[in-house]
């Protein structure tokens, strides 16, 4: 059974349809990237999962239960939302103590999570003196308090410096390796590409792509190969004779629909010398732009 289940979820704010009929699952032990441009509906979906907003239609559940139906919500789901806010006059340690009291977690968890996110020394300072990165770390500490089975992270790298981003990547991989389901939203594919196993891409509140990172980056147009040959004209003729479509980019031939292996076999059969052979991957940005581009109804 998937850990996170979103089924036909829709949410309308007045005349704006923020999320339209969205369905997806998130599995335990994997990091799933939840991607889309700003205003795509990512935060609305996460808030619906957390019971913070009421869906217009559909369901968003954890192993079949709505967040508010969970017996120990903060021990099941840990969340860091984009606008994680704290009382500016309260210290980080006191903020966590309040959450420990509410969630009935062991008091020792406060020091453990402060240590885990590197905030022990700053824990008694009032939060209003914190940098954005420190607030982000405090938000993560709060999410980890209940040692939850699921982590929902909304734009968690916002405000983090490069070492902080690297720490975040390591942290989410570690959490997934321990068997947790991690759903991490971002509007920047490049920021999460190194840490995710699966991706869910949405735009304008609609699902655009779902699957492993490789599948989604491959796109709908399948594999493609770039090849350079000693005699490119002869190779182009041989490839066309084999039924392939060939386009020329300078010295390079681009063969959509065939893998490098298939192109190599055709060249060998025609006894032509190949100088270079490589799969053509769409760049992260190209894939993301193509998937999230506006579509006419």
């Amino acid at each position: 059974m998937p850990t996170v289940e979103v089924r036909d979820l829709s949410k309308r704010f007045g005349r704006v349809e923020a999320v339209k009929n969205l369905s997806f699952d998130v599995e335990a032990g994997r990091v799933t990237g939840f991607l889309g441009p700003n205003g795509a509906g990512k935060s609305t979906t996460l808030r619906a999962l957390l019971g913070l907003i009421h869906p217009t239609a559909g369901t968003a559940t954890f192993s079949g239960k709505r967040y508010e139906e969970l017996e120990h919500p903060s021990a099941t789901v840990g969340a860091v939302l984009e606008d994680a806010a704290f009382h500016p006059g309260r210290s980080a340690r006191n903020h966590l103590r309040v959450l420990v009291a509410t969630g009935q977690h062991p008091a020792a968890r406060v020091e453990q999570v402060l240590l885990a996110v590197g905030l022990t020394e700053a824990a008694d300072r009032r939060v209003k003196g914190y940098s954005m990165g420190m607030k982000q770390r405090l938000g993560i500490a709060a999410a980890l308090l209940g040692d939850p089975e699921v982590l929902l992270l909304d734009e968690p790298t916002n405000g983090l410096d490069p070492p902080g981003i690297a720490w975040m990547r390591g942290m989410v991989r570690e959490q997934a390796a321990q068997g947790r389901a991690v759903l991490i939203s971002s509007h920047l594919l490049a920021e999460v590409a190194q840490s995710v196993d699966d991706v869910i891409v949405i735009a304008n509140g609609e699902l655009r792509a779902i699957g492993t990172l490789e599948t989604v980056l491959g796109g709908e147009d399948g594999p493609a190969t770039e090849v350079t040959a000693e005699d490119p004209d002869a190779l182009a003729t041989a490839l066309k004779a084999a039924g392939a479509t060939v386009t020329r980019e300078g010295d390079k031939l681009v063969v959509p629909g065939l893998t490098p292996g298939q192109v190599g076999q055709i060249a060998a059969k025609a006894q032509l010398t190949v100088l270079g052979l490589a799969p053509r991957a769409r760049s992260l940005e190209q894939a993301f732009m193509a998937l999230t581009a506006d579509r006419k109804p």
């Binding site: 808030r47 907003i53 919500p73 994680a84 959450l99 009291a101």
Partner: protein, 244 residues
Amino acid sequence: MKALLQAELLKLRTTRTFIALVGSAVGLSLVLLVLNTLLTDEFDEESVRFTFAGDFTGLFILLLGAMGMAGEWRHRTITSTVLAAPDRLKLLVAKTLSYAVAGIVVSFVVTAMLMLVGTIILSSRGLTTLPFSDLLDIMWRNLVVSAYLGAFGVCVGAIVRNQVVAIVGLLLYSFAVEFTLFGLAPDVAKYTPINGAPSGIVDVSFDEGETDFLDPGVAALVMFGWVTVLFAAGALLLRRRDLT
């Protein structure tokens, strides 16, 4: 519920606002008491009762309750609060109870200080003091009113999410609307939530006996009614609101 109550009380204790408001309540109450007991030469039992009932906790805990609830929106902490306690009705119950408890504790401290300092000054001047039974009678009345006003403030904060509007609105309503009403229609004003009904509990007159306040039992029922209505409205809004 016990965990939620503990968490809300911890929230209260861990900000400077609480300390500042409690300090203000203690300071203001003591300054007025000292001035009154030192500068007035004639005291009967009624005027001593009035002096010891001059506990400003009610006003401060009323404002603190409204700030505590509306502040969840101002500081956008309502999201983490609801994530930790997804049952919004229980959350509001806990917050309402915690401010009622805070009202009782602070009022106890302030009233006890007033009684101690006031009795020392009055005795040293050879003026009238009150027997212990009268002091106890004043104490429980002050505690009930402070508990009620703390709960009332939270309910107002649950309805009026803007902290500034909630505070200014409460002050204007309390000092302008209710006092004007006492001048124009005292029979209606004695049912009002901040000065009217609670005066029936405190059982001392701030207008030199011009208004015939409610009996304590009736006053308690009226106050319960006010809190119930406001709580129901606040809970309804809190449950229906999307936290975006």
